[in-house]
């Protein structure tokens, strides 16, 4: 009960932020009714999905300050669990997704235990490596479709059990619901004991340890929470695309996008990942489909992307939200 109250309580934010949240929520709610085209809906779904990913990453990467660049492997675990259980045993989404979360959490403990012996750059490199290894395994594992991936059987009728719908609107509201669960969870998380302890670890590890905090255990816990978040997103990708392959769920670029969106928007803030996704998802789409498709301009989207990251991180390491807060402080 107390936890639920904390999750729904936004009272420690400024009035402007709360009004912003309400307007944003109303917009999200009525968006499909505004007569948006399917492209706009796809972009919005991507935006909500990446906000969810970013919020998950924010636990370990933002509050905990660990540069984690291997979240794609857990997207893959979530996605593959749903796909395989569906194809092999016709298990409904609502059972396979929680199992996917459990597998992701279990796997994250196994990976996290040795991983958190490392710090700083070494940790970042190791997270990339574990993710790449898993992708290579899935690329070559015939049982799970190898690099070809798996196609899900398509149902004739919309099916709530298997989360198959004809219209994107249903998918939109579904990811929106997941997004809000994520947002409320993070609102609780930032006020929780673990949230405080992680911020202390980020600030000063030695001091954190002197205050009775088991640093490694805290990091592992946060890491597995982050993994659970992205595994949910992975399961969603499966039912949305009705198709899974290693390239779309376990690619290094996905890991980096997740981390960058949160960092660009503002790590260790509740709004950061949402702002980051709101900037980068449309930009990514726009650059990818328009500029990336032009002859001789392949890859320019990544260059613009990187330049943006460099500029923001040089100017304000706390991201776009950091810039907003800076202006707000000056205004006072």
């Amino acid at each position: 009960m107390e936890k639920l109250k904390d999750a729904l309580d936004f009272s420690d934010f400024s009035k402007a932020e709360r009004i912003g949240l309400v307007i944003f929520s109303v917009f999200l709610l009525v968006f499909p009714l505004l007569g948006a085209g399917s492209f706009a809906k796809t972009v919005m779904i991507q935006f909500l999905l990446f906000s969810l990913f970013g919020m998950g990453w924010n636990t370990i990467g933002g509050y905990g300050g660990q540069v984690e660049l291997g979240k794609a492997q857990y997207v893959g675990i979530g996605a593959y669990t749903v796909a395989l259980m569906m194809v092999w045993w016709r298990v409904p989404f609502w059972i396979s997704m929680p199992i996917g979360i459990l597998i992701a959490v279990g796997y994250s403990f196994i990976i996290g235990y040795p991983l958190f012996r490392l710090k700083g750059h070494y940790f970042a490199i190791a997270t990339i490596c574990t993710s790449l290894v898993l992708k290579d395994i899935f690329d070559n594992w015939n049982l799970v479709g190898a690099a070809k991936g798996i196609e899900l059987p398509i149902h004739d009728h919309p099916d709530f059990l298997y989360m198959q719908f004809k219209s994107d609107t249903y998918y939109y509201y579904f990811i929106m619901a997941l997004f809000y669960i994520g947002l409320f969870y993070m609102n609780w998380f930032r006020k929780s004991k673990l949230g405080y302890q992680l911020r202390m670890i980020k600030d000063d590890e030695d001091a954190a340890e002197s205050l009775g905090i088991d640093i490694r255990w805290c990091k592992i816990k946060a890491y597995s929470i982050a993994s659970a978040f992205v595994a949910v997103g992975g399961g969603y990708i499966t039912v949305y695309n009705l198709y899974v392959d290693p390239a779309s769920t376990m690619e290094l670029s996905l890991s980096i996008k997740i981390a960058l969106m949160a960092m660009l928007g503002g790590a260790a803030s509740l709004w950061g990942p949402i702002i980051g996704a709101a900037f980068l998802v449309p930009l990514d789409r726009f650059l990818g489909s328009w500029l990336g498709g032009q002859k001789g301009l392949t890859g320019i989207d990544f260059m613009i992307y990187s330049a943006l990251i460099i500029v923001v991180s040089a100017y304000q390491p706390r991201g776009i939200w950091g810039i907003i807060e800076q202006f707000r402080k000056r205004g006072h």
Binding site: E2, D6, K191, S192, K193, Y196, Q197, R199, M200, K202, D203, D204, D206, A207, A208, E209, S210, L211, G212, I213, D214, I215, A268
Partner: protein, 243 residues
Amino acid sequence: MSFLTVENIVKDFGGLVANNNISFSIDEGEIVGLIGPNGAGKTTLFNCIVGYHRPDSGRVAFRGKDITGFKPYKTNREGIGRTFQIMKVTTGMTVLENVMVGAFCRTNDRNTARSEALDVLGDLALDGVKDYYINELPIAIQRKVGLARALATKPALLMLDEVASGLNPTEIEEVVELLRRLNSAKKITLFLIEHIMEMVMKVSQRVIVLDYGEKIAEGLPADIVKNENVIKAYLGEKYAQGL
């Protein structure tokens, strides 16, 4: 059974013996000072007790329990708090949040942690700065925040690494008062490293002196100032002979 027992601690940093065979014990309720010239091995000794370093040999026991080689978070849960000589100037958390992290050591509930943290801040007269970030505060207040943070973990033994360095005489006077109060009212045993002799001699009931990693003297403050070895260590051979 004594409160804190340190037996034959040796810490060797690849040829530089920072602590050589140091033994002593502290009783419950005491205030003990640890002094010595720069590089004498005082902070190393602290780190060996608290667990940042694992001693090469020797034993540390706290309240009858062998805690040698325990990690710092474990020694903290056993009831040993410590402050740092250099407080990292951080921008991520306010003073209140810092102290709350300390209180979270003994509770899982945020409201309990918050009210305990406010109690500690009130006790140290820090309520006025509770919403500031550490980097916005003068050094004397930063030190006090470090102390408040450690106090919030409810230690039975508090180890203070140079709480008074960089403070002016009035501030030192306040710290001395504060330490005495913590010791008498809250029954916290204090073990402090200090460079400012005036302060150590005033506040400590007993003083241990280190030089080049060895314990060269131990006794009442009044005796320590007359101890030949101590004078030699601080002022050099010539002065000791000239006296």
